[in-house]
């Protein structure tokens, strides 16, 4: 359950704050970016089968997370110490249960995410160096 909260927390921090919110901000401004990202965060929970009342709550939660993220534009304001705590609470309160083997799956997914970030960073740096004109 902790592995699930950490994996989903990292995904949400990068995808909804670092990716969507900052792209929307570039396109439409700071406040619209914050609101649109919160709206996207709320509506994506439809996929989990959540109802309208919960979506409204999630919209305001998205505003809170987005505003906190915007203070330093760092996902480390949200992950791993803040948002996974709430996620873990929700899963426990709703009585979600999983086989123990699921832990391995979520740890592997977390490793896949971190590996992808390291690889993307290295490939990006190499490509930039190759394209830089030599003196």
């Amino acid at each position: 359950m902790i592995a699930l909260a950490l994996t989903v927390g990292l995904f949400e921090a990068i995808f909804f704050r670092g990716w969507l919110q900052l792209r929307f901000e570039d396109a439409f401004g700071v406040i619209p970016g914050l609101v649109l990202a919160a709206l996207a965060y709320s509506l994506y929970h439809v996929g989990y089968g959540m109802e309208a009342g919960e979506l409204v709550f999630l919209f305001f939660l998205g505003i809170t997370f987005g505003a906190v993220f915007r203070l330093t534009r760092s996902i480390f304001e949200l992950w791993p110490l803040y948002t996974p705590v709430g996620g873990l609470f929700t899963n426990l309160r709703e009585g979600l249960s999983m086989p123990f083997e699921a832990t391995y799956g979520f740890v592997l997914t977390l490793a896949l995410m971190v590996g992808a970030l390291v690889l993307a960073s290295r490939l990006g740096t190499r490509k930039s160096a190759m394209l830089r004109p030599t003196p």
Binding site: I2, T7, R23, D26, P32, Y48, L71, Y82
Partner: protein, 131 residues
């Protein structure tokens, strides 16, 4: 030429107000890619939980975790940012800049959330945070 304090502060205040309240309409390729990735994430989640459902454990897990969260949600934005846009991961908020203040605030908010949520939860027997 002397510049008064008022002359210096007014443009800053105007700039701040513009940043905070300013609406603009400058959608770019990045905006479209972000929207497309969002639709893919929603479709991935819907497929995992509404089509496969938790009854089909393997299909549900693979669609949800490695594919939707890992590949579409994290790897795709990261590779697009660094390879296609040649921008650092800092553009995704992944940065060690302000690391200590960020972690400090995170710890504070995490503790407050814990006090108001997990600490109040009665975990019944048979339900364990470690599955």
């Amino acid at each position: 030429m002397s510049v008064s304090v008022k002359d210096q502060s007014e443009p800053q205040a105007a700039a701040l107000a513009r940043v905070l309240t300013g609406l603009r309409w400058m959608p770019s390729r990045d905006t479209l890619v972000a929207l497309a990735s969002y639709l893919l994430v929603v479709a991935g989640l819907y497929t995992a939980f509404q089509v496969f459902t938790t009854e089909r454990v393997a299909a549900n897990f693979l669609t949800f975790a490695p594919i939707t969260l890992g590949l579409i949600g994290v790897a795709a934005p990261a590779f697009y940012t660094t390879i296609a846009r040649r921008r650092p991961l800092e553009d995704l908020g992944i940065t060690v800049r302000n690391l200590l203040p960020s972690l400090g605030l995170s710890l504070l908010l995490g503790w407050d959330t814990y006090r108001n949520t997990l600490a109040t939860l009665e975990i019944t027997s048979g339900r364990n945070p470690v599955p």
